[in-house]
């Protein structure tokens, strides 16, 4: 298959999924196709204006704006579901979740551990934790805000054992990650263990 030929079909969304995928791979290596696609995309989008456009129901506008407002208070705008997952190796998952936008929970229990992070419009945030056992003696859980390309900043301590709502200290900048580690009682200045939880970038 010559992927060059597929630019128009791709612009018209007329490729089957495997063809589209192959074309996208080609696109990443072909500047000529990228330029041509930009042009043909614009023309294809102009066809949208060729369709008769009855007024959409008023509720559609409201529904979109309400859904948008509801999503933007969540740290994971890409995912609406709560971050629950099980059976992942903790360290690997903590690293991977940043890349794939999935939640992590502790693996060594049948009980579901849930971390959910709510970010307010003023970028203050609350971390809700449930299903997490009490920190071992001499230890505490510590939350961290990790701004992009910066060192982690301590954001609060909690002991686990019960459902916890922790108001994070300071604000959570855009693209920051919120993480939780186990630290010696009293907390640390920098994390001393691998995170048991890390959010996707906020």
């Amino acid at each position: 298959m010559d992927a060059h030929d597929l630019t128009a079909a791709y612009a018209l969304d007329a490729l089957d999924p495997d063809e589209a995928e192959a074309y996208e791979r080609h696109l990443s290596q072909c500047e000529e196709c990228r330029e041509q696609l930009a042009e043909l995309n614009e023309t294809a989008a102009a066809l949208a204006f060729g369709a008769v456009a009855p007024a959409p129901p008023v509720r559609l506008r409201e529904s979109i704006l309400e859904a948008a407002a509801a999503e933007r208070t969540n740290v994971v705008p890409l995912l609406r579901r709560r971050w629950v997952s099980r059976g992942l190796a903790v360290a690997a998952a903590a690293a991977a979740c940043i890349a794939v936008g999935l939640a992590v929970s502790l693996s060594q229990s049948s009980q579901t551990r849930t971390f959910s992070l709510m970010i307010n419009p003023d970028r203050t945030a609350e971390l809700h934790v449930s299903g997490l056992s009490t920190a071992p003696g001499g230890k505490t859980y510590e939350a961290w805000v990790i701004p992009a390309h910066r060192l982690p900043r301590p954001a609060g301590l909690f002991s686990g054992g019960t459902d916890t709502s922790l108001r994070l200290r300071g604000t959570v900048p855009k693209h920051a990650v919120v993480a939780v580690t186990v630290e010696p009682t009293g907390g640390s200045k920098q994390p001393t263990s691998k995170p048991i939880f890390a959010s996707p970038p906020a």
Binding site: A38, A48, A51, P54
Partner: protein, 222 residues
Amino acid sequence: MRSALIRPSPPIGSIALEPPGLGGRISDAVNRQLAHLSDEALVALAARSEQSALAELYDRYGRTAYGLALRVLRDQALAEDAVQEAFLTVWRTASRFMPERGKASTWILTLVHRRAVDAVRREQRRRADSLDLAAEPAVEGAEEDAFLHLQRERVQAALRHLPDAQREALELAYYGGFSQSELAERLGQPLGTIKSRMFGGLSRMRELLGEPGTETSWTPTT
């Protein structure tokens, strides 16, 4: 009810100055402030969680988006879903929009089209039906926005200039949601023929629409 939906047609000279608005919760004052902004500036504001910017983008393109989705899907509820998903994708991924890669209106309508095509293929509604489903449905009511009416006339005039085979390929692919291999099969033509009809048709459309006065995106006030 109609008066809440339909904005009186503006004088011709100001057509390009006002987006096709539907009114709504955002106050006129806010809308007027945002009316100065380009689509791309609105996307940048949306990336900063400015909800009124999303509302303004919807007011500019929601109706076209809905018309497109309805044409492809032929089902109001599915069309609403496609439009909603597309605008929420705009909201979620606004920070990744790159204006140097294309216009914001192209991005938005591409998202809508992709959602609609995905949905129509998922539903497989049309597979049992005939190709003429891609034909234009009857116009419901004549109170279309003057700006949109003008744009539609232009696009349809350009389509009429195409050779029949190219127009058919474009309409079935874009409005019908048929893939190139489905088209080859249904039209009994080699895949290569379908590809070149789509490419030829789209390229010719580009020339025709590129002529003066065929700008399809909304122009901000100065």
